[in-house]
């Protein structure tokens, strides 16, 4: 005869103000098999836990029902309490009388009646719960980091310095990401490459880091502690061991200065054989197969010019795409962001005028390694601008484009104003059209004050359009600080575009089974308490792939993700939740439907016995095979048909 204890939680007043907890506990005490029923203010507190443990001993309980908040919140807590008290943790059933009851209803009578039904049903299941034991799987003490921007670099270095083997995958020919494109960083005006390059070098030289550039994630199998990942290495047509980074190939390339440079945001030109920027890691060249004459047309003079020029014999046009497989225990995703195409706000003239540029393009103009060697020149005529106008929030906080704040626009614009004053002299006219300046970080407000002290025209308002008058650009701006309409004639317009998820974020999320938030960025498991976890155990996110943020926040988040991954990697083995599928071998007909429906590839058909099997390490307990099995042979442990029907019967 099963002995069940029921414990009703008040959750402060969250439950108690809508559910009559005393009446509920009294009622629970009258249910069959229930030998003790108690209520307490905070069942999840130490006192509550002691109350449960003491009751287990005193009343020799062998199953426990907790009437409280959602099992998402505290199921784990109460399982541990039951275990400490001497009851198998899987003989704990939670009746959610908060989210499903007190928070959903207003009248006390109705809420209490519903709470009684939920407790009745939970007791009905508790009577039939089986004791389960978790199985253990070994952990591969290695991690995969996807994306070699500052977030990926930081996460990889943190874990590598903890002693774990890391594979860092980057789809561009070099790591560095957007940070490598920046000239200086706000609010301290540190030179971006000066602080980034040492970290990139550390990655390159770290014995624990395997760097795979020009490579992309192709496939992921397995689960926490034991993932098998397949990485596609794109052919770069340059043998890494032989290339010395001398640049003879790029100099000889017949397309020299004819291919648009992505790194310079389209403002500069490169060769088809190229290194994206001088501090690239690895410091190796790469041949772009979308433009290279030999690769696109099959002919580049008598012999490919780069091949002829390379004294090391590093050019290898026979290279093919290559797939490599790695086993890892955890994955950190740091795939970053892209800028909104400002052409989507056609009225701002980005499509029609070369003198309307983005903040990232201006960054390349300011940078001494940029296309103008750090000179600020108007793209249309290569003259120094006498007037520069910034338009903030281009597509940000906009219901028709990106509804969110980009979180870096205000500060990056203020920083650029400061740098332009340095580069072009105090006399350059700077206009800045802003809506609110959001300077919320450490030292940001102080930097904003510093820029306010410079001779600069700040207009509070959004222009409606930018008109290309050929000799100049014309902007009408209604300034809400003076309540006047101003006409600005200016040489260069800098748009601060919204930050968006990467174009392939959705497809990438599907590959890793990640969830997207409404804005299209990757969703964290909890916005406050699990900010770098995802809903897939063992996969973590950091940086702008989770949402727009500045370098400071990105680096903090990357370290957090590394530390979260380390909690897995430091373990020799992991407990596997036993609430998964099993097979009734007598009933199984070997039809194989469960193998087809399993989204986790946890199901296989034993060819010899013709009976389906469950890989416990892979099974996520989703229940797809249970629903699909035509012969009732797939069973979800502790969610058996008998248990569930009993719940329904008792509820009704």
């Amino acid at each position: 005869m099963r002995r069940v204890g029921v414990f009703v939680c008040h959750c402060g007043i969250n439950i108690a103000q809508t559910v009559d907890v005393k009446a509920l506990a009294d009622y629970a005490g009258t249910l069959p098999n229930v030998v003790i029923a108690k209520e307490y203010k905070y069942m999840c507190s130490d006192v509550g836990a002691t109350l449960i443990k003491d009751s287990i001993k005193k009343h020799k309980l062998d199953a426990v029902v907790i009437a409280s908040c959602s099992p998402r919140m505290h199921e784990h807590t109460f399982r541990r309490v039951a275990k400490d008290g001497g009851v198998n943790p899987y003989r704990v059933e939670i009746a959610n009388i908060r989210e499903q009851c007190s928070w959903a209803h207003t009248t006390k009578e109705a809420a209490t009646e519903k709470a009684k039904a939920l407790v009745r049903s939970a007791v009905g299941k508790a009577r039939l719960l089986e004791p389960l034991e978790p199985s253990m799987i070994p952990v591969v003490p290695k991690a995969l980091v996807i994306g070699g921007g500052i977030a990926g670099i930081q996460a990889a270095l943190d874990l590598a310095n903890d002693g774990f083997d890391i594979t860092l995958v980057e789809r561009q020919p070099s790591i560095g990401g957007h940070m490598a494109q920046l000239d200086k960083t706000f609010p301290t005006l540190d030179c971006s490459s000066c602080i980034l390059t040492p970290k990139m070098m550390e990655v390159a030289n770290h014995e624990k880091i395997e760097l795979l550039t020009y490579a992309e994630l192709q496939n992921v199998e397995g689960s926490i502690g034991n993932y098998t990942v397949t990485i596609k290495k794109k052919p770069r047509y340059v043998t890494l061991d032989k290339c010395t980074g001398c640049g003879d190939c790029a100099a000889a390339c017949r397309l020299k200065d004819r291919v648009v440079s992505e790194f310079n945001e389209g403002l500069g030109k490169r060769s088809a054989a190229y290194m994206p920027f001088p501090q690239a890691v690895p410091l190796k060249y790469c041949i772009d197969d979308s433009t290279c004459l030999f690769l696109t047309k099959g002919k580049c003079g008598d012999e490919p010019a780069c091949q002829k020029a390379c004294a090391q014999g590093a050019i290898d046009f026979t290279q093919k795409e290559e797939l490599v497989e790695r086993k890892v225990g955890a994955i950190i995703v740091t795939t970053g962001y892209q800028l909104l195409d400002p052409g989507r706000l056609y009225e701002y003239g980005y499509t029609t005028s070369p003198d309307v540029i983005t903040s990232l393009e201006l960054e390349r103009l300011i940078s001494s390694s940029g296309p103008t060697k750090g000179e600020i020149l108007r793209p249309s005529n290569q003259q120094k601008p006498k007037s520069v106008t910034f338009i903030l929030c281009a597509g940000s906080r906009d219901e028709t484009q990106c509804t969110w704040c980009c979180r870096i626009g205000c500060m990056s614009a203020l920083k650029q104003v400061y740098l332009l004053k340095e580069k072009l002299g105090e006399d350059v006219e700077i206009n800045l059209c802003y809506q609110d300046i959001r300077a919320y970080g450490k030292g940001y407000e102080e930097f904003y004050r510093k820029v306010r002290g410079l001779p600069t025209n700040l207009f509070r308002g959004r222009p409606s359009e930018v008109r290309d008058m050929k000799e100049y650009l014309k902007i009408d701006i209604f300034d809400t600080t003076t309540s006047k309409l101003f006409e600005i004639k200016t040489d260069l317009v800098v748009l601060i575009p919204a930050l968006m998820p990467q174009a392939d974020a959705t497809a990438f999320a599907r590959l890793l089974r990640l969830t997207l938030s409404g804005d299209g960025f990757f969703l964290e498991a909890h916005p406050k308490l699990r900010p770098v976890d995802t809903f897939v155990n063992g996969i973590f996110i950091a940086g702008c792939c989770q949402g727009p943020k500045d370098i400071q926040d990105t680096v903090s988040q990357a370290s957090a993700a590394a530390s979260r991954a380390a909690t897995i990697l430091t373990k020799k083995e992991l407990e596997i939740d036993p609430l998964i599928a099993m097979v009734d071998e007598e009933a199984c007909t070997g039809c194989g439907i469960c193998v087809e429906v399993c989204p986790y590839e946890a199901r296989t058909l034993n060819e010899r016995t013709r009976i389906a099997e469950v890989n416990e390490a892979l099974c996520a307990g989703c229940g797809a095979c249970i629903a699909a099995c035509p012969s009732n042979a797939s069973i979800h442990k502790n969610f058996t048909k008998k248990q569930l029907l009993n719940m329904v019967d008792d509820m009704m």
């Binding site: 056609y346 499509t351 008058m469």
Partner: protein, 295 residues
């Protein structure tokens, strides 16, 4: 022989009572493209001019006209941008708000009419570009408008607001330019004042402001060295063509920009006689192009 495309011609108020050139030219040039226009009796004002007075009345009037075309099972062709907006917006509202649809239908029942939403509304722009298509237009061109450097005025009501569905893009409309290229002309795709208003909605009450708008846009076109202006709305055309002299006086500038309805140019390129296209009714100096331009 291609099957005829058949539309109920919804003339509105301004075109059939004074902007005869638009009506003449579309009645002449569209049949060349196998468009059959059906005259439906009983139409009234589209309702757009009454929006400021009582928007329920304007919805009623628009729904009434659509319901009349629905009775004939014909899509409506509204050459006026204002009318096209009124009818399209009415459709948008009644197709999304069932309570409003029922209310309007109760009112319509007095004339034994019902709005069902079965028929579509087109304007000159999408009729030519999307329903007929550039290729068919090209096939009919006999006298290409070679060397005609033209600016296009789309008209605010033809392109906004985007979310109710308009004949062309609200910020970067290019369909008329494509049609003009098919006719052999050289349209200017972008000029800074392209999306500026003609001023018509203020003509009656604040004529000076209205004419200043008209004048400024024409002056800019002249300044850019563009030879002529093309429009597709009787209100805009009234401002740019019939009121051009007044607009010039208002801004103290000499304006002489030939202004055409798109359908007039269509007819000229198809080789139809100028008189049948109502070119003698244009008040602006159209002969600057029709004579010197050689068409």
């Amino acid at each position: 022989m291609t099957t005829h495309m058949k539309y109920a011609l919804y003339p509105g108020c301004l075109m059939p009572t004074e902007q005869y050139a638009y009506e003449l030219s579309l009645r002449e040039s569209l049949p060349v493209l196998q468009v059959q226009l059906v005259d439906v009796p009983e139409f009234s004002c589209c309702g757009e001019p009454m929006k400021s007075v009582n928007q329920l009345l304007s919805l009623y009037l628009a729904a009434r006209n659509i319901a009349l075309a629905e009775q004939q099972q014909l899509d409506l062709y509204a050459p006026c941008a204002m009318c096209h907006l009124a009818l399209s917006e009415c459709k948008h509202i009644l197709d999304h708000n069932t309570a409003m649809r029922e209310r309007i239908n109760t009112l319509l029942s007095a004339e034994n009419l019902t709005y069902t939403g079965s028929q579509q509304v087109v304007h000159t722009i999408d009729l030519l570009y999307d329903h007929i298509g550039i290729e068919k237009i090209k096939q009919q061109v006999k006298h290409p408008l070679k060397g005609w450097k033209l600016a296009v005025h789309y008209g605010c009501h033809a392109i906004r607001p985007k979310e109710i569905g308009r004949p062309d893009d609200s910020e970067h409309p290019l369909k008329i330019e494509a049609i003009l290229r098919a006719l052999g002309a050289e349209p200017v795709e972008d000029y800074p004042e392209k999306l500026d208003c003609c001023g018509a909605p203020l003509l009656a009450n604040l004529p000076e402001s209205a004419l200043t708008k008209t004048g400024q846009k024409l002056q800019a076109i002249q300044h850019h060295g563009i030879q002529g202006l093309v429009d597709v709305c009787p209100w805009c055309h009234k401002m740019f063509d019939a009121r051009q002299t007044k607009a010039g006086e208002t801004i103290a500038a000499k304006l002489d920009v030939p202004v055409f309805y798109l359908t007039q140019l269509l007819g000229l390129a198809f080789g139809l006689p100028a008189e049948k296209l109502g070119l003698h009714l244009n008040q602006s100096p159209v002969e600057k192009l029709t004579v010197e331009g050689g068409a």
